[in-house]
């Protein structure tokens, strides 16, 4: 809430800068070392990163509320939504409205269900979203039997793979989402209260924030975004298949953490999610170009997540230490 006093202060408030720098540096290195990176490959990378960003932003909202909240149902929602799209749109542009409505309905229902478990029954988010994922897996299997074919509506295909002036439409939509999310985080009461809840939920409640509402909203946002993304991803891959969302299980968390959102909650950045998504896709693409076996891609992604967390953990530790120091004088309150 303050004008920057110094560069380091500015970086504190804009933690996405590190992932952005990492993207630029790796891009520069890759262009210098290989000759296979071109504008064309860049737009391919950006397109893949856009899909990841959409679910990553949803995950970011959930994580920002703190208390170890995480949404593990995202992958299942993506897959199911792609099937629901096949069932509702049936390759006809005329049915697209129904498809969008169905996707929205699915997202709202799943988000509300997750939120009810977490807020209402006080089930830890990881277990609640995990259980939801199971139920969705069955729904996916049933849909898989019900579909008649893999017809994709041309309009949806255009959104998924089309271009405007050379820029992928999906990327433009994704950038709009990132911009909107960043604005919500920085310039609305919701963004401020979300940050407060993530930092200290007891203090948030005592400051008059309706904590439950904020947490419910994060789960709904996450599911709706995953659902909409599944709709478009289905069109992109030309249908749906059972494991299509699986890749987003870890990647959605990785994009959040690498992007600079604090895993303990309290600070979130949508720009960071986007930059981190590009970085992650860049790494995967690079490994494909180097023809490394797919196993090593998994390994590298896992290592990146752990290393980034371990480094961010240091900062959290320092924060805790300074908090303990500040607590020093307050110890007097125990006197008596």
């Amino acid at each position: 809430m303050i004008a920057p006093r110094s560069v380091s202060d500015w970086a504190q408030g804009n933690r996405w800068i590190w992932s952005a720098l990492a993207v630029l540096i790796s891009w520069a290195l890759l262009s210098a070392v290989t000759d296979r990176f071109s504008i064309a490959s860049l737009s391919g990378i950006l397109l893949s990163a856009s899909f990841l960003t959409v679910v990553g932003v949803g995950q970011m909202f959930v994580v920002a509320a703190g208390r170890g909240n995480i949404d593990l149902s995202i992958a299942s929602v993506v897959t199911l939504s792609a099937y629901v799209a096949l069932l509702t749109v049936r390759g006809q542009d005329a049915n697209l409205g129904w498809g969008v409505l169905a996707a929205l309905g699915l997202g709202l229902a799943v988000g509300a269900f997750n939120a009810a478990l977490v807020v209402g029954l006080r089930v830890p988010a990881i277990i609640a979203t995990l259980a939801t994922g199971y139920v969705l897996a069955t729904a996916t299997l049933l849909s898989n039997r019900a579909i008649h074919g893999f017809a994709v509506s041309p309009a949806l295909k255009e959104i998924a793979a089309g271009r405007v002036f050379g820029a992928p439409i999906m990327m433009l939509l994704c950038l709009a989402l990132v911009a909107a999310s960043e604005l919500v985080l920085r310039f609305t009461a919701f963004g401020k209260t979300l940050s407060a809840v993530g930092q200290n939920h007891v203090a948030a409640r005592l400051a008059g924030i309706r904590v439950s509402r904020v947490v419910v909203a994060t789960f709904v946002i996450s599911s709706v975004l995953a659902s909409l993304m599944g709709l478009v991803l289905g069109a992109y891959v030309g249908g749906a298949f059972l494991e299509m969302g699986q890749a987003y299980f870890l990647q959605s968390v990785a994009a959040v953490v690498v992007g600079g959102t604090l895993i303990f909650g309290g600070y979130a950045t949508a720009i960071g999610v986007f930059c981190a998504s590009v970085l992650l896709i860049l790494i995967v693409t690079l490994m494909q170009i180097m023809q490394l076996p797919p196993g090593s891609q998994d390994m590298v992604q896992g290592v990146v997540v752990i290393v980034v967390l371990a480094l961010a953990g240091r900062e959290a530790l320092q924060r805790r230490a300074s908090r303990a120091q500040a607590e020093g004088p307050a110890e007097g309150r125990d006197a008596g």
């Binding site: 809430m1 139920v135 009461a189 870890l250 997540v305 020093g328 110890e331």
Partner: protein, 825 residues
């Protein structure tokens, strides 16, 4: 062990006869400053052998600080300490040193591991007698029994009962008994030991203190119940404003004299707030469980103090007012908006990532609609006046809140309430540990706010602040017992009212019947996995009688073995209040290693598996060292395990080593299903580990890591051990996968990760950690593994397998959540 100590104490007895006034410990010239506040000032304090010192003083007199110094928790600013006449440097005097010197403290906030049994808590305190062999608990059971019976005859506490299921009073008894049973203890500090004990137990404790003190043990007895002090103490020390106000033999004191000596805080006195003229309009009403008499009405412009001894319901009342609405809830109705200023700044006040102004502005922002536009610059401008009213230094408006001193942080919190502009402001002991200048600013602003027509409800532990209020409500045992105002509002009246209702025991919450009800619900929840498995088996047998044959059972249960092993791995991690999302992938990796390298080159394979185990354990170390969430780290690790496995074996294949196949391919005879034997063996290993001293320590860490560390247990070592054990079980699961499938597939373990979490939860382990039930978890795993077969037997498509597993998990969690909530109320 017990008889040994008797011998020791007898010799001590003889020694004390020789030198009756031998000085045990002496604190000299102790001063402790917190910023500008002196919690202790030039205190001389000596404890002789056989002394029972009654330590009294009002809230904030410095008793706790002095005891923390004595026990090595806090070092003094200046001062000296001497044991048996030999001086010791404070630099080297910590809790460990105090314990070696025989000083034990029973804290007001209980420091037991609530998830362990009474006997196990005795083990945590004195682990040196434990041996890893069956029956090791017997020593501690006997010690606990003996100690409890020695202090509280006829207590009826089951030493095998989990501490969490004891009443508050029983827990207090266990804690006291544990301190008395510590080998080589010489001085026991009892901080409000009788706050939850009834008259009879309190008398027993005092009898015990008298007996033990005669044999040379010394006690310091801190209590607000002055009649107990007069009864049990041999000497009394009265503290007041951090200084010794009086000390002498108990014969020279009486309850009324002690009350007088504890007296008022003349130094910080200030005049009473003016009462606003418009003080008729009602803003809130208190009734129901908070009053003994008629409803109490709170009016606009009033400053109302909440008094009473610490922990007698002042905070509950404030929270009830904050959470109530115009329609009465819990007997309290609030007609106007309220904001809350907590004195526990770190836990309930500040937002550590934000600047001072942002911390103030949130008070306004919180009350706006979600998509309302907020511009930091405007908010900062709007927040500035309320910050200025408290004389906050304008240069610091933009600093991070944590860079401010405690007193200034407190100003920020009050400014937040001012910025929120609510008609009611609730103050929860806001001036604790705050220096005098800040207090003055605080008082001035409070007066102004009341004159503007706001109502302040002020819980404070400082008598002087109470005297400044327009009206004071005195609470005892959670109810308002006196209402004081005008000339009747005096220090003596407040003290008298606070003490007046303390004769009897403090009421236990919830009647016995209610407790019985929630107990039976809990028992049902505990038995759910067993009932579930029995149901599943019964239905399957009815649907297809051949299930009940040895062959049928083997066919069904052999695949469950791997899930059982993964579940046990997960159980040990969950016991430490963490979740491992990498167990399944790790089992897959070990399966791949065993079907490829171990098959082709046994030595290289074995080395690789050991290396993998070490890597797995080190994940636990990273989590502990960096304090980062286990879920995400292990999720990352799962991709590493899968990646390695995939690189070694891109497509399913390999072969199982003969010896490994032989492990699952034997028979005890035609009547015994091998799978059941294997699962039973796996379960027994889990049970034995969990019941061993090591398992108890691991559960202790899951339940109360702070208490474990305070008793001298190293957290890092146990994090490594925990993950190493989990790795071993997960590796066993991997080997079983290879043996059962006669080949390996890196993805074969994936589905087990989430199922294992579900099984652990179903089995009755608490995700919050510390509560582990190996048999329940194994039963849960078998049930989940059978759900597919059950659906098949019922003719339901296997598509519903996952949903059935998920719904079972949700149903169980819902049941447990309801049971927990019943227990709370």
């Amino acid at each position: 062990m017990v008889s040994d100590r008797r011998i020791v104490s007898r010799t001590a007895d003889e020694a004390s006869e020789l030198a009756p006034l031998a000085c045990l410990v002496e604190l000299k010239d102790i001063t402790k400053a917190f910023g500008p506040t002196l919690a202790n000032a030039n205190i001389d304090f000596a404890v002789n052998r056989s002394d029972v010192i009654g330590l009294v003083g009002g809230n904030g007199a410095g008793k706790s600080t002095l005891m923390r110094i004595l026990c090595g928790i806090t070092p003094p600013t200046v001062g000296r300490i001497a044991f048996d006449g030999v001086e010791e440097p404070f630099a080297a005097y910590d809790t460990g040193a105090a314990q070696r010197r025989g000083v034990r403290m029973v804290h007001q906030e209980l420091s037991l591991c609530a998830n362990l049994s009474v006997a196990e808590n005795f083990f945590i305190e004195a682990p040196e007698h434990a041996r890893t062999r069956p029956g090791w608990r017997r020593i501690y059971r006997a010690a606990a029994r003996a100690a409890l019976d020695a202090v509280f005859p006829g207590n009826g506490i089951d030493v095998d009962s989990i501490v969490d299921r004891l009443s508050i009073g029983e827990r207090q008894m266990v804690e006291i008994a544990r301190a008395t049973a510590t080998p080589s203890v010489r001085l026991i500090v009892l901080d409000e030991p009788t706050s939850s004990l009834d008259m009879e137990r309190s008398r027993q404790l005092r009898d015990y203190i008298r007996t033990r003190s005669r044999s040379g043990l010394s006690f310091i007895f801190i209590s607000h119940k002055l009649q107990e002090i007069v009864d049990v103490a041999s000497r009394v020390v009265v503290l007041r404003n951090g200084r010794v106000a009086w000390q002498g033999a108990v014969a020279q004191s009486s309850v009324s004299r002690l009350v007088e000596l504890m007296g008022g805080d003349a130094g910080a006195a200030h005049h009473r707030f003016e009462r606003a003229a418009s003080a008729e309009e009602e803003v809130a009403r208190i009734g129901g469980r908070f009053v003994v008499g008629p409803e109490i009405s709170l009016r606009r412009g009033e400053i109302i103090g909440l008094a009473g001894l610490e922990g007698h319901g002042q905070k509950d009342l404030l929270r009830a007012i904050f959470e109530s609405a115009p329609k009465a809830r819990d007997g309290v109705s609030r007609l106007e908006a309220a904001s809350y200023v907590s004195g526990d700044r770190q836990k309930e006040g500040v937002f550590p990532l934000w600047s001072v102004l942002a911390n103030i502005a949130i008070g306004r922002v919180a009350r706006r609609s979600a998509l309302g536009f907020v511009l930091d610059k405007n908010e900062a401008i709007a927040a500035t006046p309320s910050a200025q009213r408290l004389r906050l230094d304008a240069e610091r408006f933009r600093s991070r809140i944590l860079e401010l001193s405690g007193g200034n942080q407190q100003k920020v919190l009050l400014s937040r309430a001012v910025a929120a502009d609510t008609p009611i402001i609730l103050l929860d002991d806001p001036t604790r540990g705050v220096d005098i200048a800040t207090k003055q600013d605080f008082y001035r602003l409070c007066g102004e706010l009341a004159r503007e027509g706001r109502t302040l409800i002020w819980h404070t532990t400082e008598d002087a602040e109470l005297l400044a209020c327009n009206r004071v409500l005195v609470l005892a045992n959670g109810r308002i017992v006196r209402e004081l105002s005008g000339p009747s509002l005096t220090e003596e009246a407040i003290v008298a009212a606070s003490f007046s209702h303390l004769g009897a025991a403090r009421e236990q919450r919830g009647g016995p019947q209610r407790k019985g009800q929630s107990q039976s619900l809990r028992r049902l929840v505990d038995a759910a996995p067993f009932i579930g498995l029995a149901l599943v088996l019964a239905i399957m047998t009815v649907a297809n009688p051949s299930v009940a044959s040895v062959f049928g059972v083997d066919l069904l249960l052999m695949p469950a073995l791997s899930l059982v092993l993964v579940t046990e791995a997960q159980m040990f991690v969950v016991g430490g209040s963490e979740i491992d999302l990498g167990v399944g992938a790790f089992a897959g990796l070990i399966s791949v290693l065993s079907a490829t390298w171990l098959y082709d080159r046994p030595w290289a394979g074995a080395a690789a598996i050991i290396a993998a185990l070490i890597a797995y354990a080190s994940i636990g170390a990273i989590i502990q060292l960096r304090k980062i969430p286990a879920i995400v780290v292990t999720l990352g690790a799962s991709f590493i395990w899968a990646g390695i496995g995939y690189s070694i074996q891109p497509t399913p294949g390999g072969a199982s080593p003969d010896w490994l196949t032989a492990l699952t391919n034997w028979s005890l005879g035609a009547d015994v299903p091998t799978s059941v034997v294997l699962i039973a063996v796996a379960a027994s290993i889990g049970v034995l580990l969990d019941r061993a001293p090591l398992g108890v320590a691991l559960r202790g860490f899951g339940g109360n890591p702070a208490a474990m560390a305070a008793s001298g247990w190293p957290p890092l070592r146990f994090a490594l051990i925990r993950y190493f054990i989990a790795g071993l079980f997960s590796a066993a699961a991997g080997l079983s996968l290879t043996a059962i499938n006669a080949s390996s597939d890196i993805n074969s373990g994936n589905s087990y990760t989430l199922l294992s979490v579900a099984a652990v939860v179903m089995g009755g382990c608490a995700l919050a950690g510390g509560i582990v039930s190996p048999v329940g978890a194994v039963i849960g795993a078998v049930t989940l593994a059978l759900i597919g077969a059950l659906l098949g037997a019922l003719g339901v498509s296997s598509d519903f397998n996952a949903a059935a597993q998920g719904l079972v998990l949700i149903a169980l969690l819902a049941m447990r959540s309801v049971a927990d909530r019943r227990n709370e109320t």
